[in-house]
Amino acid sequence: MNDERGVIFDIQRYCVHDGPGIRTTVFLKGCNLRCFWCHNPESYRTGQDLLFYPNKCIACGKCFTLCPLGCHSLTEEGEHRIDRARCTVCGVCAKRCFAGALSLSGKESSVAEVMKTVGADAPFYRNSEGGLTCSGGEPLLQASFVAALLREARAQRIHTALDTAGNVPWEAFEAVLPHTSLVLFDLKCMDPARHREVTGADNGRILENLARLGKGKVPLWVRIPVIPGVNDTEENMVAVAAFLRALPMIRKLELLPYHALGASKHESLGGIYEHKELKAPAKERLQELAGCFAGADFPVTA
């Protein structure tokens, strides 16, 4: 088996929302977009991150003495503070935090190590037409590892899906597509300025890649996270529909409602989640937006 190594931050079994059937999703670390609603903010950086969940802390104080740089401290109000500017994410504190309040996100793994977990559920994939999905972060930032992983999965007769936001050079796709059974393409919004504003990046390359994929050989599902105030307008959806019309490989379009599950993760990384007031869009609203795709050649789910 290939000795490529990649940095992953989670492997989830029995995933039923990342492609068809019962799947195992491997989450790769590192992303070049900064969507504020991201429910996996620990995927932003390629290296390891220290996560801290205060509600699990039993105030044993061990991290205060263990940290070689003295990054853990208590404020006068009794609040546990981490000096993230100095923290080198050495992991000494997390290793000895038995309460699970401190943990490290991100681990370098080989293809064989990942496949040991993925392969365990192979019979479930066969009966459900499921398989392996590589997600992230942006998995194509580790295109060589992803290609090796998907190649190995294919060799074991496991269906492979790639969940990407598409903001990578086309060469990354070229490396991975030969081993990919299905692409899940996350599309945010069509307006370039708005896209830059909410993700920190242009959508020019993204749309270019999408267009190429849509005319290529691998089936494609387009997934749009519906974020209130960002892209939940008829105008945006109509523009998406127009763009997708010319792409024969699209097999499905999914409108995925925003959810706030990432909020606590943003805070565990030391950030402040400023969008707590944001509510999931109503089912009816999703249905209305799905109406913008009337006449499309592919099914639309909301």
Binding site: R13, Y14, I58, F98, T117, A120, P123, F124, R126
Partner: protein, 723 residues
């Protein structure tokens, strides 16, 4: 206005829910309802019955039990409901009255048994001694062709044959008394239906009551001739066995009812809706364990109209029905899909699913053919049995491996050089002693139980007891396969893995630290306890605890199967805690997996709740399949699933795929599933009275949540929330 069949079932369900609340007010003993929901109804206020003891210490032997049973059936109030197509219900059980227990004389308590009783205490064994029923009868081949009149003739015939053997004669006379008692009880119900019909003004209900009366006057003697009569006959037989000692083994419904349904259909006597209604009435009468699906003895798929109607009837009823669907390679996928759809829609934990491959291949290893193994129906909480030819003590014998582990651990604490390897050897030694103790105890059960509480309500429905004049527990049937269930697999496997990692691999503590923490129940050592809890559990996948779990099952299989009981009886291992996780946990000190003293041990073959944060469904499937003992008894997996997982057609497809994979590819045995909305459950925990219709699956059985004791509600809520 005439109600449709389905509307009548709605009325019956509402009555059942009211009756359940009434039961709660009548029986207030804590924990009384922490078991199967049953179809019994509250007796009239003036109801009184007392057992007549034939011995200073209680009721013993066939005659005394039969006489007492006859007396109860004679005075037991009839129960007729104009909305129900079937008569009868039970209001009392013999075992709810003071009946003694084990005979005190020395011949029934030899010193060898006394020594075994000591060991039962040492290892917290549920020994099975004095256990009753938990095997399967054969209504299809005995009851249905003969009827109660024919059974009576058969008993009298064998009384003649055994007339010179006083012991056998007494036994057979007792059986005659039982059958005559049942006939009397049927007559009383028929008369009550006749009286109710006379004053009923609604023409539809009146016609129903008249039919109930006519049908039951016939069934006093005659065998059933129609689908409805077969359901009624089954009701009489099953409910009387419930009154006698709580037996709940319903049977395979396709085996029992297909011929009747097809004959009625051919004669134009029945519609699908009507048959579904009769099945709903049958399920309402008592929560017996019924199997549906599976294969006929020749291996062909058994799914037919009866299978579909059974699922539909349970869907109409929405009560804790105990249907189990048998999954195999060629199962009718539409049937399986329908069952999954209703499982999620109704949220009654119904049906459960059993893997045909595991059960058949496993049982064959005991020396049976595939044709025979396929008839071994799933008719108990966790168990299967051959109809009418096998005595099993299923779900009655439990070995608390948590306690076995504790005994070994206390011994380890006294050694000079403790090690995980030595602990493993000590555990294995004590496991062997516990299993040996059970085997010896089983022989005493075989020798003595028939003097205590013979199976008077089931013997006449088995092949052999009447012919031989012997109780089923004592040579009446051909096959004796004693079940031994093991409890606390997860607790023990995790404890080994935690000890190994903490003391030997990472050396974060030494043995004496660990011993003192365990003795003091982690007092002042919360940090250490959390560390032990954080070590990857059995079920997580590819962990040491997973490996230990498999190795523990290898050892319990080895010790169980290496020899028969001293008398030569076969034993079959399984993993099943029933609802004993609280009780068995109370016997076990703190364990190295971070478990606090006297808290519950792990459930069935399940990993500890919360063993992984995501993807538990496949992870648990792979883990539990890997620890199946595979000798014909089950090691159930209990799943708590959020309703959202079966949203839409794809959600149902995925659950179906999970079941097919688990049963067919991984060779898993029994699957019990709770579909539960966590927020609703949490609210019901605070305010059970607001949710009288909320049903949860505890293990092999489901119940109304509001009927559970506080301890049990807590256990269920914690288990479900953590998964």
């Amino acid at each position: 206005m005439m109600l449709t069949y389905r509307e009548k079932v709605d009325v019956l369900r509402q009555q059942k829910e009211r009756e359940t609340q009434k039961k709660l007010k009548t029986f207030t003993r804590p924990g009384f309802f922490d078991t199967d929901d049953k179809g019994w109804v509250v007796p009239p206020e003036d109801w009184a019955f007392e057992l007549e003891w034939n011995h200073p210490s209680g009721v013993f032997g066939p005659k005394a039990w039969a006489d007492n049973f006859y007396r109860m059936l004679d005075v037991h109030p009839p129960y007729i409901d104009p909305y129900c197509s079937l008569a009868g219900a039970y209001m009392d059980k013999l075992e709810w009255h003071s009946w003694g227990g084990w005979r005190p004389e020395p011949e029934f308590n030899p010193p060898a048994l006394g020594e075994l009783r000591e060991l039962h205490r040492t290892y917290d064994l549920v020994s099975g001694l004095g256990g009753s029923h938990h095997f399967h009868h054969d209504v299809k081949n005995i009851g249905f062709p003969l009827g109660f009149g024919g059974i009576l003739e058969k008993i009298r015939h064998y009384q003649e044959i055994h007339r010179d053997d006083p012991e056998k004669l007494e036994f057979l006379q007792g059986e005659e008394t039982v059958v005559r008692g049942i006939q009397l009880w049927i007559r009383h119900n028929a008369e009550a239906a006749q009286a109710a019909a006379a004053i009923q003004e609604d023409p539809d209900l009146k016609a129903n009551l008249e039919e109930i009366a006519a049908m039951n006057f016939r069934l006093i003697d005659a065998p059933p001739a129609t689908f409805r009569e077969a359901c009624q006959w089954l009701t009489w037989f099953l409910v009387q066995s419930s009154i006698f000692n709580g037996s709940g083994a319903g049977g395979n419904l396709e085996e029992l009812l297909t011929d009747f349904y097809e004959a009625d259909l051919a004669a134009g006597r029945i519609t699908e809706d009507e048959a579904t209604y009769h099945l709903a009435c049958l399920f309402l009468k008592d929560t017996q364990y019924y199997e549906i699906g599976g294969v006929w003895p020749d291996g062909t798929d058994r799914t037919n109209a009866v299978s579909y109607m059974a699922i539909e009837a349970a869907h109409w009823l929405k009560i804790p029905t105990a249907l189990c669907l048998r999954v195999h390679e060629t199962i009718d996928r539409a049937f399986l899909r329908k069952s999954v759809k209703y499982l999620f829609e109704d949220k009654c934990g119904n049906p459960s699913y059993i893997g045909d491959r595991c059960m058949v291949e496993g049982f064959m290893k005991n020396g049976y053919t595939a044709e025979v193994a396929r008839t071994r129906a799933k008719v108990g909480c966790n168990w299967c049995a051959l109809p009418g030819t096998e005595y099993t003590l299923n779900d009655v014998v439990k070995i608390n491996m948590g306690k076995v582990f504790e005994v070994a651990l206390l011994e380890l604490m006294e050694t000079e050089e403790p090690s995980v390897d030595l602990m493993w050897q000590l555990f294995d030694k004590h496991l062997d002693i516990a299993i040996d103790t059970i085997k010896k105890t089983v022989d005493f059960q075989y020798d003595l139980q028939h003097f205590m509480r013979p199976e008077m309500a089931l013997n006449f429905m088995c092949h052999g007891p009447i012919e031989r004049g012997l109780d089923v527990s004592n040579g009446g049937v051909d096959n004796y396969n004693f079940c031994i269930d093991f409890v606390a697999l997860g607790t023990v496997a995790d404890s080994f893995a935690s000890m190994e990692r903490a003391v030997e691999d990472e050396e974060v503590m030494n043995w004496q630290d660990l011993f003192s923490a365990l003795r003091e129940d982690w007092e002042g050592r919360e940090d250490m306890r959390l560390y032990m809890k954080s070590i990857p559990r059995y079920g997580f996948g590819n962990t040491r605890a997973d490996e230990y779990a498999v190795e523990i099952v290898n050892r319990l299989n080895y010790h169980t199967k290496k020899c028969n009981t001293p008398k030569g009886f076969n034993c079959i291992p399984g993993l099943f805690s029933w609802a004993n996780t609280i009780g068995m946990g109370r016997a076990v000190m703190a364990t190295p997996n971070g478990r606090k003293a006297y808290t519950p041990v792990t459930h069935g073959a399940n990993p500890e709740p919360g063993f992984r944060e995501s993807g538990a469904l496949t992870a648990m499937g792979v883990a539990v399949a890997s620890v199946q003992p595979r000798w014909g008894n089950t090691a159930p997996i209990q799943l708590e699933i959020d309703p959202v997982l079966a949203k839409g057609e794809e959600g149902i497809d995925n659950i179906m795929a999970w079941l097919l994979t688990y049963c067919n590819d991984l060779g898993g045995s029994l699957v019990n599933i709770n579909i539960i909305d966590k927020e609703k459950l949490l609210d019901a925990y605070e305010h059970p009275e607001r949710y009288p219709d909320l049903i949860v699956r505890i293990t092999g059985f489901s119940v109304y949540f509001s009927t559970l004791s506080q301890d049990f509600r807590k256990l269920v809520v914690e288990r479900i929330i953590q998964n």
